[in-house]
């Protein structure tokens, strides 16, 4: 198949959309796996809602409320297109990935999981794709089972056959590890899970922002992601689900908007997706997310992925030369999204991040909400740099130099 042609990212002009980079020296923002910056067009779209048609949705019989409703629903259409969902009503707006996964755990989980059933996870899950299942297991008596990883930080497929049995009711798996950057081959896991009759939830918090994800091709049953990790606002997330599953599921939160009619003792519920959107939602943020989808698709997700690969390759190349550095995760950047985790010998990760901060470089240091993975790596914390479409090769150079200075400053006498 010929590689489709696309223009490379025009990073210089992209950076102009982000006023936060206008300082001298510019902020080197390398904590994109935690949350990304928001470009002007997205902020302006939200401003325009606040300035010109601010109102609630789905209820006003007046013009600006109709406008708000229309924009809110248009955002849903754009999100559906982004992940190739067959219908827009399969897109439920939530606050974030965490809420999306909890929705599945409470609603689908409570109706479908029983004592002795097994839920399969991996040791590299983010807490938000782990704790909801722990809670479900505690409520129901289900059992959690874990796919281990190899020394390279890849999923250990030799175990899969043992893990997936007729007891397996659900597989919950991260598409991309927020610590190691590993891109998991979820397609084959989904196929294997379906073969034993299990459903699959994909935590796509670190994949949808970075490359094309197609829910029909993957055939996943649920998929969750957050707006704030893809240049969108905070407070808006997405749950995609297969129609037949979403329709069968009981509501998650009860209240306004999610009902058809309400009696004193009982109610009937609204159609999808309203059934899962109780109360006034994050209207401005949903509209902002719609414009975020426009922004990253205009930049071109394929070009974005190539750009991040370049940054990652260069970062691997530079950082591995530093004496006393340990890089975690796959040694080949091809198996990774734009995340690089490491430690400098004898220096606490907080201090690495602290010194880098004094040079205007923002990286994350900590357990990255993945404590079981930290335990597996046998570290308390790591330093993590993560890239997005506005990052540059010069910023990787600054990271490298910052790390050398950190070593000079802190590797003096004491261990």
């Amino acid at each position: 198949m010929p590689t489709p042609y696309f223009r490379p990212l025009d990073v210089e002009s992209i950076r102009k959309d982000f006023p936060i980079f206008a300082t001298t020296p510019p902020l080197a923002f390398l904590d994109n796996a935690a949350s990304t910056q928001t470009p002007r067009p997205v902020v302006e779209a939200m401003d325009s809602y606040y300035d010109t048609y601010r109102s609630n949705i789905h209820r006003g019989i007046y013009r600006i409320s109709e406008e708000a409703t229309e924009q809110y629903e248009r955002a849903r259409d754009k999100v559906a297109q982004l992940i190739n969902a067959p219908r827009s009503r399969q897109i439920v707006f939530t606050r974030n990935t965490t809420e999306s996964i909890n929705l599945v755990a409470y609603s689908w989980g409570s109706a479908n999981i029983q004592e002795g059933d097994e839920i399969v996870l991996t040791v590299m899950e983010h807490h938000s794709n782990l704790v909801p299942w722990q809670l479900l297991a505690q409520r129901t008596g289900a059992v959690l089972r874990f796919m281990e990883i190899t020394d390279e930080g890849l999923l250990d497929f030799t175990q899969l056959q043992d893990l997936l049995t007729e007891k397996t009711k659900l597989v919950a798996i991260g598409h991309v590890s927020n610590v190691l950057g590993t891109i998991n081959p979820i397609q084959s896991i989904i196929t294997a899970a379906h073969a034993v009759g299990a459903k699959v939830v994909v935590d796509a918090a670190q994949s949808v922002p970075h490359f094309q994800v197609d829910v029909q091709q993957l055939d996943c049953d649920f998929l969750a992601f957050s707006g704030h990790k893809m240049c969108g606002p905070t407070g808006i997330g997405v749950l995609y689900g297969k129609v037949e599953l979403l329709e069968e599921m009981p509501p998650f939160l009860g209240g306004g908007s999610m009902i058809r009619s309400v009696e004193r003792d009982i109610s009937s519920y609204a159609e999808l997706p309203a059934k899962f959107e109780a109360g006034t939602p994050s209207i401005a943020e949903a509209i902002g997310l719609g414009h975020t989808v426009d922004y990253i698709t205009q930049a071109n997700l394929a070009a974005l992925q190539v750009h991040e690969q370049e940054l990652l390759k260069y970062a691997h190349h530079r950082l591995q030369d530093i004496e006393g550095i340990t890089l975690y995760g796959p040694s080949s950047p091809h198996q990774k999204a734009g995340v690089i985790s490491f430690n400098l010998e004898g220096i606490h990760p907080h201090d690495v991040a602290g010194v880098l901060d004094t040079h205007g470089i923002a990286v994350r240091a900590g357990h990255h909400c993945a404590q079981p993975l930290m335990k597996w790596l046998d570290v308390i914390a790591t330093v993590r740099a993560s890239f997005y479409l506005y990052n540059t090769i010069e910023e990787v150079d600054r990271l490298y130099e910052g790390l050398c200075r950190t070593q000079k400053l802190l590797t003096r006498r004491r261990k």
Binding site: H348, P349, H350, D351, G354, V355, T358, A365, G366, H367, I380, A381, L409, L410, R412, R413, R414
Partner: protein, 129 residues
């Protein structure tokens, strides 16, 4: 202001009162599970006066330097005085503004001291926030 000031780094590299005591009257150790900082403080107390103090452990510069500064501060003081130390006293000693995450690192030693000496749980100074 840069948190990596010379004074702080000096305490990190050449900490005062580093080590353990063979027969301490009070010995207590705690960690901050979020970042893995760990501090133990040993005290010899005679008539309510701290006559010897040592700390040991590992962690980031802030947690270790703050522990070193705190041991200097309490050496020779009475437990009654020590009980009055607050988070603001620690911040004064450290002498630089700290964000919420690093604040916990700075306060770990005081937390260990108070828990060891008085069984006071919780982050020190939380009551006067």
């Amino acid at each position: 202001m840069n948190i990596y000031q010379e004074e702080l780094l000096d305490h990190y590299e050449n900490p005062s009162n580093y080590g353990t005591l063979p027969n301490p009257d009070i010995s207590h150790e705690e960690d901050n599970p979020l970042c893995g900082d760990r501090i133990r403080i040993d005290l010899i107390v005679e008539d309510d006066i701290i006559t010897e103090v040592r700390f040991s452990g590992h962690g980031c510069t802030i947690s270790q330097a703050a522990a070193s500064m705190l041991t200097e501060e309490i050496d020779g003081k009475s437990l009654t005085e020590v009980k009055k130390l607050t988070r603001d006293d620690i911040l004064d000693m450290v002498g630089i503004p700290l964000g919420p995450v690093r604040l916990k690192c700075a306060l770990l030693a005081l937390k260990v001291l108070k828990a060891g000496a008085y069984g006071i749980k919780g982050w020190p100074g939380e009551e006067d926030k």
